[in-house]
């Protein structure tokens, strides 16, 4: 006999201001199955939860409905609450009368209350059909995978490894290090990026629990939390890692030439190369696009082979092919980082037409000691020291028309840092910065910005730049100074554009492979913007660093640590609780037609042979069998199954039909 307890929450004024909660509680008092109905200001609060628990005992309720906010928010909270009072946590339903009712029908109180009553009736009808469900258990592979070898990936891997768990770092480029390895100095302390990064890289490469899988990509992810089966494509390096000692002689004589992406194409590199001197693993890779041998093979010839001849360890292997291998993991951390916004769409800034208009990362390579200019700040066009430098901020950021609508958070600080470094290296160079706003949201950030203006004499002009064009030797920058209210033109020797941050261009494909959400700009979607920044909606997949949204190094490292703790929490369990809301087949109804087998995305359904006594004889027949731990509860099989044999627990056909009937408009 159903004895339902209904609890209507005011949520302070969020619901109470629009929905007449008392009337809702009153009107469902006599609804079939309801034994107790009340309302309270804050159901999710301590006293609120106690009220539920007392009501369960007093009125011996065997089902509870809470009408408050979205179940995506507090379903776990209330399930734990009813469980404490001895009620099975799945004998509980929520009605969303906040996000779906009071907040979206402000001012229409009467109709909102009617709607709330309907939603509560739906929840009551559904809960009357709920069954007691117990959480299942699934084994956990005590091993984590970090996708992306930037600072976030490295830090997360280190934190996991230091907790005693095996972790693999999967990096697409030949070496870990990511964007930070391209940066010269970091704000706000201007300490050298390589000095703080390379120790971490070495620590990661030498850590017993960490395995580096570089020059490899994510191919396919199957399975579920605790039991991911990840297929990785290890791209052909044409160098046998076991033999190569990293001596580098091959790189000295290689005739192949290609643009050095690491140095933002400011110089050339050899076909067989390591991205940067401190690369880890410090073993070269052959770029088959620019290697003379591979290019000639395309035309049927076979030339060069210098590196193979020179290599003392005989490590060069031209026949190496991509290989796919599968690995099992318990948790995955996405740390795929960011990319610089391609500002060539701003034709008016002359990118690509004028060599002296460069981006922030270009400047980092110029000012970096191991960069193409050995750290001398010179103009790419004629390698002369620039006397006036103009820096333009928000290129692509905060521009819904052509660029990205969001603020990229880090440009203000690295522009200030770069301005300081220019003034430091060439004291008599004049630096102008065009800005809309200066955002310094961190510790010691604003002090750093003020020092840039006061001590280093950087000229900040509040206004946008409308056009940059080559005017003889110099670049004429036309802009405006909104504080003085006049147009302004500066003849600059070099212009540095502070480009927006965008996610890794491959982020959407990887999100679909791993099965997590992403927003319209391609950033991975966290489970909750405030309360779950490092988790995703897919259990077992976590986020670290800029892949979740524009952020600087301190935030990335902090997030990496957070993600690591979540992973360790997951791996610390020998067994994982699996949601019981999975599909189950009723053998009596199943005719073994197998239509459901191909439908299951997790291949959880297989045809099993069972024995049965029919009319006095034991017979064998085939029925569908759903592996409860593989099934994730999507319900595709329940619709394909004509006889209703496959039913999704907690979302059964009877429950959904009851919810539809609760809205009944027809009259008898």
């Amino acid at each position: 006999m159903e004895r339902v307890g209904v609890f209507i929450c005011h949520c302070g004024s969020n619901i109470g201001a629009v929905v007449d909660c008392a009337r809702v509680a009153e009107s469902v008092k006599d609804y079939p199955g309801v034994a107790f109905s009340t309302d309270y200001k804050y159901m999710c609060s301590e006293p609120g939860q106690e009220m539920i628990q007392n009501a369960i005992r007093e009125h011996n309720l065997n089902r509870v409905v809470v009408a408050s906010c979205s179940p995506r928010m507090h379903e776990k909270t209330f399930r734990a609450c009813v469980a404490k009072a001895g009620l099975n946590e799945y004998m509980f339903e929520m009605a969303n009368i906040r996000e779906h009712c009071s907040w979206v029908h402000a001012g229409r109180n009467e109709e909102a209350t009617e709607k709330a009553i309907d939603l509560v009736k739906m929840a009551i009808s559904k809960v009357c059909n709920n069954e007691v469900l117990m959480k299942g258990h699934a084994p956990v592979t005590k091993r984590a995978l970090v996708v992306g070898g930037g600072i976030a990936g490295i830090q997360c891997a280190l934190d996991i490894a230091n907790n005693g768990y095996q972790v693999d770092i999967l990096e697409r480029t030949p070496s870990i290090g990511g964007k930070m390895s391209q940066i010269d100095k970091t704000f706000p302390t201007i300490d050298c990026s390589a000095c703080i990064l390379t120790p971490k890289m070495v620590e990661a490469s030498s850590h017993p629990n960490i395995k580096l899988i570089t020059f490899a990509e994510l191919e396919k992810v199957d399975g579920y939390v605790g039991n991911f089966e990840v297929t990785i494509r290890s791209k052909a390096r044409s160098v046998d890692m076991s033999k190569c000692t990293g001596c580098g002689t091959c790189m000295t004589k290689c005739p192949g030439k290609a643009d050095d992406e690491f140095n933002m194409n400011l110089r050339k590199r050899t076909a067989i190369y390591t991205p940067f001197p401190q690369a880890i693993p410090n073993k070269p890779v052959i770029d088959r696009e620019s290697c003379l041998k591979f290019k000639s093979r395309k035309e049927g010839k076979d030339v060069c082979g210098v590196c193979a001849k020179l290599c003392p360890a005989g490590a060069i292997d031209y026949e190496q092919q991509d290989e796919l291998f599968t690995e099992r993991y318990g948790a995955i951390v996405m740390a795929t980082g960011y990319e610089q916004f391609d500002h060539s769409i701003y034709g008016e800034y002359g990118y690509g037409k004028y060599p002296d208009v460069i981006s922030g990362l270009h400047f980092e390579r110029l000012v970096n000691a191991s960069g193409p200019t050995q750290g001398h700040i010179v103009r790419p066009s004629d390698h002369k020291e620039p006397k006036t430098v103009v820096m333009v901020k928000c290129v692509g950021s905060r521009d819904p028309e052509h660029g990205k609508s969001y603020c990229s958070r880090t440009c203000c600080m690295y522009t200030a840092k770069q301005a300081t470094m220019i003034r430091d290296h060439c004291p008599d160079t004049k630096v102008y910065v065009f800005y809309m706003d200066v955002r310094t949201p961190g510790k010691l950030y604003d002090e750093f910005y003020n020092r840039t203006r006061e001590e280093y004499g950087v000229e900040y002009i509040r206004g946008r730049v409308s056009k940059i064009y080559q005017d003889g030797e110099t670049l004429r920058v036309k802009g405006e100074d909104t504080l003085l209210g006049r147009q302004i033109e500066i003849d600059a020797d070099m212009v540095i554009l502070a480009n927006a941050m965008i996610p890794n261009p491959d982020s959407e494909r990887m999100a679909q492979i791993v099965g997590i959400g992403y927003d319209k700009d391609g950033w991975f979607t966290e489970s909750h913007p405030k309360l779950g920044p490092v988790e995703t909606h897919t259990a077992g997949v976590f986020l670290a660093g800029a892949c979740q949204g524009p952020k600087d190094i301190p935030d990335s490292v902090a997030q990496a640590g957070a993600a690591a703790v979540k992973v360790c929490a997951l791996l610390s369990k020998d067994q994982l609780e699996t949601e019981p809301t999975v599909s189950k087949v009723d053998n009596k109804l199943c005719s073994g037609c197998g239509l459901c087998v191909p439908v299951c995305p997790y291949k959880a359904i297989s045809l099993e042979t069972i024995q049965e006594r029919v009319a006095g004889k034991t017979i064998e027949r085939q029925v569908a069998n759903i592996n409860g731990s593989l099934c994730q509860g999507c319900g595709a099989c329940t619709v394909t199954c004509r006889s209703g044999a496959a039913n999704l627990k907690h979302f059964t056909n009877a429950q959904i039909l009851a919810e539809v009937d609760a809205l009944c408009q027809t009259i008898l």
Binding site: Y346, G347, K353, S466, K467, Y469, Q470, D471, G472
Partner: protein, 302 residues
């Protein structure tokens, strides 16, 4: 490719060479221009100062005639293009404007036939490779600067090319083989009517453009607006009085295409400019000779 053709007043008077070269070039490139019968002035430079409805009604009448014949309208002059585009956009966006306009001009106009700038037709509809295919006398070695002015690129809703960084003239000139230089004055204002009523301000703007062109080392400037052409071409003599002697030839885009297609200067009206265009012509011939010369001796050896 059929279009209704609206020359506008300038192309019958100061910009006659734009009209002549436009007719010649479009015929050669297979674009059929059917002049709108009994077209009236689009009220470009002054109508909108007298009143909003008159400034819309004037171009609306021409567009309505073209719409009756179910043709889009090819308009070489940037000013006429801007006026016609505005009435097309306003009529198709609001029913009352359409009703009022239809009442004034006494004929139906739904805004379905589109106002199209001739340069935009050449660049987008025809395509540069079709033009390149027809080039007989490539303009190699000629350093040109393209000048768009205001009305082809502003305001954004009416513009026929990118507001900040227009490319249609550049691409056409490249297709003709010319060497297109870079400068910052593609979309700066040439002074417009200010060169007449407020010479001090207007001439200063024209001068800045000419100075930049000389600095960039251009042989000539290419434009697609009769007003800009007259300001840049005609005013050079006036500027000469202030001890600068300017000699920067200014061409229309259609003249350039005509020359590349091997047409005679007289037919294109190139000889009607204020600033003589001989240097550019003989530079082309010289270059041509060199080419023939080179081919001769290469030919000789092979």
């Amino acid at each position: 490719m059929d279009y209704a053709y609206f020359p506008g007043c300038s192309l019958e008077s100061t910009g006659i060479e734009f009209h002549m070269s436009a007719k010649a070039v479009t015929k050669a490139l297979g674009i059929n221009l059917i002049e709108i019968p009994d077209w009236n002035c689009c009220g470009a430079s002054s109508a909108h100062t007298r009143g909003h409805w008159i400034s819309l009604a004037l171009p609306a009448r021409n567009m309505a005639i073209a719409e009756a014949a179910k043709l889009d309208v090819a308009i070489p002059c940037a000013a006429c293009y801007a006026r016609s585009k505005q009435v097309e956009v306003e009529v198709s966006q609001s029913a009352e404007t359409r009703a009022k306009i239809e009442e004034i001009i006494g004929r139906p106009y739904k805004g379905e036939s589109k106002a199209r700038n001739l340069t935009d037709i050449l660049y987008r509809d025809l395509g540069v490779d079709k033009i390149a295919a027809k080039v007989v006398r490539p303009l190699d070695g000629l350093n040109v600067l393209t000048y768009y002015g205001c009305l082809m690129t502003r305001p954004p809703e009416l513009a026929c090319d990118d507001v900040e960084d227009p490319v249609s003239l550049d691409e056409i000139m490249k297709a003709l083989g010319a060497n297109v230089l870079q400068w910052g004055f593609k979309t700066e204002c040439c002074g417009g009517s200010l060169t007449a009523c407020r010479p001090k301000v207007g001439l200063d703007m024209t001068q800045k453009i000419l100075d930049a062109a000389i600095k960039a080392g251009a042989d000539c400037i290419v434009t697609a607006c009769p007003m800009c052409h007259s300001n840049l071409d005609m005013r050079q003599a006036q500027l000469a009085k202030h001890d600068h002697n300017y000699h920067m030839p200014v061409f229309f885009i259609t003249e350039m295409i005509g020359l590349a297609l091997g047409m005679k200067q007289k037919d294109l009206g190139v000889d009607r400019h204020f600033i003589a265009t001989e240097e550019v012509m003989c530079k082309l011939e010289e270059y041509e000779q060199e080419q023939i010369q080179k081919m001769m001796n290469e030919g000789g050896e092979a």
